[in-house]
Amino acid sequence: MHKKNIIILLVVCVLIVSLLFISFNNKKSANKNEKTDNHESLNVNNKKDNNDKKAINYNIEVDELKLSESLKSNINKNYTYQITHYNDNKYNGVINKPVDVGLGQTKALFTYDVNTNTFKQKQTNFKGSVTSFIEKDNNYYYVEINTITIDKREYYSWSLIKNNKELSDRKVLLKGNCSLFTLFPELIVDEENQDLYFFSSIDRVDESNNLLSQNIYIYHFNKENFELLKELNYKEQNEYIGSIWSTKLVNKKIFFVMKTKDKGSKIYLYDTENNKIETLYEDSKNIFDFEILDNYLIITLLDESENTLIKVYKDEEKLIEEKLNGISNIYKISNNKLLIESSSKYKIYNTKYNEITDIELPKDLDLYRYSIKSYKEDTLIIMKDFDDKLIKIAEK
């Protein structure tokens, strides 16, 4: 009897312990499931948010450039060319002999009249590479680049040239030296007002490439010459310009990017009408490029890993901040659309919907191979040797 009771007691204890163990585990699982359920519902909501996004469809049309036939029939295939200026009525460009390294050796300037389909080229012995060329008021204005040694250091020597259409009356209007390839001066055209500006810089550096001095000059075209509008020197503020490539003219205002002493950057605005300079935007990161679409400001910033942060502002309110892989380039398609090129993939930012959406290009269009520039509303010009095109991007 005694033994039997002990056995019964043991069995009961085992059962109770088992019950305890099961109940403890159940409690733990219940807690875990509660957490998981919450997390999943977050994901579902996110998906739902994505589904709520409006699907924006774009129509992409690719057209041949009218200029292309003339280029193919008039330029030696062993040479290359750059289209330096264009509008609805004409194209200007340079024809270069390829070199091993450096800039191409310029052999000729060309002009093309769209209305009469007339292609003309003029050759001469240029004193360097021509990087910026425009035909204006029956004269040619262009920038010649060469190299020069100053204090045992090599600089780029630039000259703004005025010449006649026969290239027989060369006059140096302005000249200077810069230490960086990214500081070549630019002729900036205001098509709307039939105006022309020249943006340049002159700098000096020491043996370790530290900046000793830098002056920035903004000139305005007036009666076959260029008048100085503004000279800037930011040495006191420890600010400098690192690249003239992103300089833009919008509504008679010239926008340019300056780097600041704490490794940040600023966008300055020079108003050509009242001769005043303002700060449009400032950031602690490096501004790579920017575009202005009506009252939207879109900026691309590079971090130390050279990934891009794209920010969209409207009236100083930040609407979008998004990270992109690698260095991304932006191109204005229209006053409400921007093409974003990021690691050979393409997106469009549309102010109408305030969204950045992926787009699919025609399968036979390797857009990353082309140099891309704004052309006119809804249209970009894409350029690659003897394969230039226009692409129109509009909402369906």
């Binding site: 330096t84 390829p98 091993d100 960086l180 400098y240 998004e322 380039n329």
Partner: protein, 259 residues
């Protein structure tokens, strides 16, 4: 028998109570999720943390609030990871000393990387017999092979590759610890896209990525040319897609110098 049942019942009740007591004890432990810290440590944590990020009721089994935990979990989920890993030789960039000197700078960069030492750019310029003008492709091949043992270099016209065979070539060369010298037109590289002038240039590929699409979707390169005023942050070592790098040599008359 009745006595036995009564004993069993009491025991059961007793055990259940113990369970409850233990559960309470467990709960009270999880509430004090910071119980492992000393008072000094807790004070420090409170000083260093944003009060909005803390939840000292330990409702989430940590001292942090649910919002912070969820935020951290989702922090970078929208940043696409371009690669699983990379194979990089970490070539040091040297600024080219002359406007035409990118070839000599590339030679220095490669030999410094392979051998751990190198001569000056002007010495290579002199040795290659092209003083005063840019480096010649086959002479770069010759001078590299003069100074290295093991895997040797050759040169190939860029437009004889397809994108895939170009990627394979880069992967093989890097695997052999041989950076690839690109005799290019650089305008397809993202940093040069805004340039209004065509840039004929040597640069050095020193690595590639590996991701779901295979090897070489992205490539890493060093550039002796692009340099800001004493500021190496923005210019020097860069990344481009394999397509962009390929397109810089997929042109008549441009070469790749590789192992």
């Amino acid at each position: 028998m009745k006595r036995k049942i009564l004993i069993m019942g009491v025991l059961t009740l007793g055990l259940l109570s113990i369970n409850k007591i233990n559960a309470s004890a467990l709960e009270s432990v999880s509430e004090k999720c910071y119980s492992q810290y000393t008072e000094e440590q807790i004070k420090y944590i409170l000083e260093q943390s944003d009060p909005k990020d803390l939840d000292l009721t330990c409702a989430n089994d940590t001292i942090f609030s649910k919002e912070k935990i969820l935020n951290d979990e989702n922090l970078n989920k929208d940043v696409p990871t371009p690669f699983y890993f990379t194979n990089e030789l970490n070539v040091t960039a040297y600024k080219q000393e002359k406007s035409y000197g990118c070839g000599y700078a590339s030679v220095k960069e490669v030999l410094q990387n392979i051998n751990g030492t190198s001569k000056s750019q002007s010495q290579y310029e002199s040795e290659m017999g092209n003083a005063g003008s840019s480096a010649v492709v086959y002479k770069i091949r010759n001078i590299l092979n003069n100074y290295i043992s093991g895997a040797k270099y050759t040169y190939t016209l860029g437009n004889t590759y397809s994108l895939d065979s170009f990627k394979s070539m880069v992967v093989n060369s890097i695997t052999n610890k041989r950076p690839v010298i690109m005799h290019s037109i650089s305008n397809s590289l993202p940093l040069y896209k805004r340039s209004s002038a065509k840039v004929y240039h040597y640069y050095v590929i020193d690595g590639y990525s590996y991701n779901a699409f295979g090897a070489g979707e992205y490539m890493f390169y060093v550039d002796s040319f692009s340099r800001d005023f004493g500021d190496g942050n923005t210019f020097g070592k860069h990344r481009a897609t394999g397509k962009e790098a390929f397109d810089s040599v997929n042109i008549s008359g441009r070469y790749v110098i590789h192992a």
